[in-house]
């Protein structure tokens, strides 16, 4: 393994260890020290959860769609990408668990079996995706066209369901009408697949294949940009406050970067990975606008909400620690599996 990877792993381990204390604190004490309040009941933890699960669903959507189209694994990057998806899924679930008021009751979801609850479906889809990514990670899917296609179909449908489920949390709170709902299905889906393409760009660093994924990234960036720019114009024409301007600006920078990478930089050293990381950051920002900023709006119409005091939301150090730990844990899991497969597994197998 290259020394840069060891440095990245070392940093990730330290961050996971330090931030992990925050997660443990939340898991055993509930939501004791947060910036949340009666107005902002969901904050950084849920934003991180939506982001990580969106990344994972995006990666698995691209891989499964690729397989269903009958295309071969390009350069053997599916297993490492699946490992990263696995890491994102585990981290997202830990983050969600630590955000519960009563974390030790989390398994009551299984007992409740309320299949009209989006959270139940979130739980189910995340479990299935974790299993699917585990199978992909260790190449455990039987190498037979039928089984591989079944795996791909199940993964694709579950990834899409997981993304769709995230679009229905806020539905009862808003009135019918275009763009009144913060979680538009197309936005969420394109954001997820966009981040999936970004991870593929990262995974294919150093391979000729990266150009293909950068092309995908450009296409998805344009789709996401068109969607968010349309919402921006609609809100301007409708004279309503637009919530997603930061996301739109970052998106514009990404498109410019991708075009520059293609036209000017040509063999740019790290342009692709840098743009990919920026895409992942943009998806994180998008979730902030959707999850956190949206809650700042009063639920009741005027004039009934005219004197409503809105306490601002400032994430606490515990929330920041949990978020950092969950992201770095994904990296630790990725490298841990890589090291296991590279050094430990061959050693174990040699015994048999």
């Amino acid at each position: 393994m290259h020394w840069i990877n060891w440095i990245i792993l070392g940093i990730a381990v330290v961050l996971t260890g330090a931030g992990g204390l925050a997660i443990l604190y939340q898991l055993f004490n509930g939501l004791n020290r947060t910036g949340l309040n009666d107005r902002y009941v969901w904050g950084l933890n849920i934003q991180g959860f939506f982001t990580l699960s969106s990344y994972a669903a995006g990666i698995l959507t691209i891989i499964s769609a690729w397989i269903l189209m009958g295309l071969p694994d390009p350069g053997g990057i599916f297993a490492p990408a699946g490992t990263l998806a696995f890491g994102f899924l585990i981290s997202s679930q830990i983050l969600l668990g630590s955000d519960l008021g009563r974390p030790l009751r989390a398994l009551y979801i299984l007992k409740g079996r309320n299949f009209i609850s989006p959270l139940t479906w979130d739980f189910v889809t995340l479990m299935i995706l974790t299993l699917c990514s585990f199978l992909l990670m260790f190449n455990l899917v039987p190498q037979n066209v039928f089984f591989i296609k079944v795996w791909a179909l199940v993964t694709l449908l579950t990834s899409l369901l997981c993304i769709v489920v995230h679009t229905i949390f806020f539905i009862p709170k808003v009135e019918a009408g275009y763009n009144s709902h913060p979680f538009s299905s197309l936005d969420i889906f394109s954001g997820s697949i966009w981040s999936g393409a970004a991870v593929m760009v990262l995974m294919s660093t150093g391979l000729d294949l990266q150009k293909t994924f950068l092309g995908f990234l450009l296409v998805f960036s344009i789709i996401v940009f068109a969607s968010s720019a349309g919402a921006f114009i609609a809100s301007k024409l409708g004279r309503t406050e637009h919530k997603n301007i930061k996301f739109l600006v970052i998106n514009g920078v990404i498109i410019l970067g991708l075009v520059a990478e293609n036209l000017v930089l040509k063999e740019g050293l790290f342009a692709g990975p840098i743009i990919a990381v920026l895409v992942l950051f943009a998806v994180f920002i998008e979730k902030y606008d959707l999850v956190t900023e949206y809650q700042g709006k009063p639920s009741l119409p005027l004039p009934y909400s005219m004197f409503e005091k809105i306490t601002p939301y400032k994430p606490s150090i515990i929330e920041l620690g949990s978020l950092v730990a969950s992201f770095s844990l994904s990296v630790v899991i990725f490298y841990a599996v890589y090291i296991f497969k590279l050094y430990i597994l061959p050693f174990v197998l040699s015994w048999f």
């Binding site: 939501l31 947060t34 008021g101 009563r102 079996r113 806020f170 539905i171 709170k173 009741l300």
Partner: protein, 201 residues
Amino acid sequence: MRYGMVIDLARCVGCGACTIACRGQNGTPAGINFNKMKKYEVGTYPSAKMKAIPMPCMHCDNPPCLKVCPTKATVKHENGIVTIDTDLCIGCRACIIACPYDSRQFIWKMNNYYENQNETPFEKHQYKKYQKGTVVKCVFCIDRVNEGLEPACVHTCLAGARIFGDLDDPESEVSRLIADHGGVAFKAEIGTEPCVYYING
């Protein structure tokens, strides 16, 4: 049977007695308020007026909070009252996000009314039914209702602005008031079918 409430806004003087009665009856920890009183202003200076609108839980016939609860901790009783089983609540707060009326609250911390002092005997007794890290809401004083009494807020309203009864019975006072005065439910257009109606607003 479907219990509901009519709030006569012409009679409501915004005194907040209902809120105090609610707190007394339910023994809610400090900071937790089942019966919110929203103040708002009508008209323009110099003839502007301050008005109040009480906002209990709407006990919707089609409650979004019940649908989103993954553990079935939110329960709708046969009489239409929506309650929460605290022992099943995992504190995910999806119901708070789903409620269009801000009727639910999360217990971030069990606060006493007298800061930096121990719980009073009343608080000690009443707080047994609440758990930190769970969600709470107005339960239409279901224990009182089961005994044939009115909810505490209705009983205590000095202006008689709150009327409680069976919405399914066309002869009940609530049904009659809604029919005669054109009762309006909050955000009815989103399909939650609230059981709290406002008249003379």
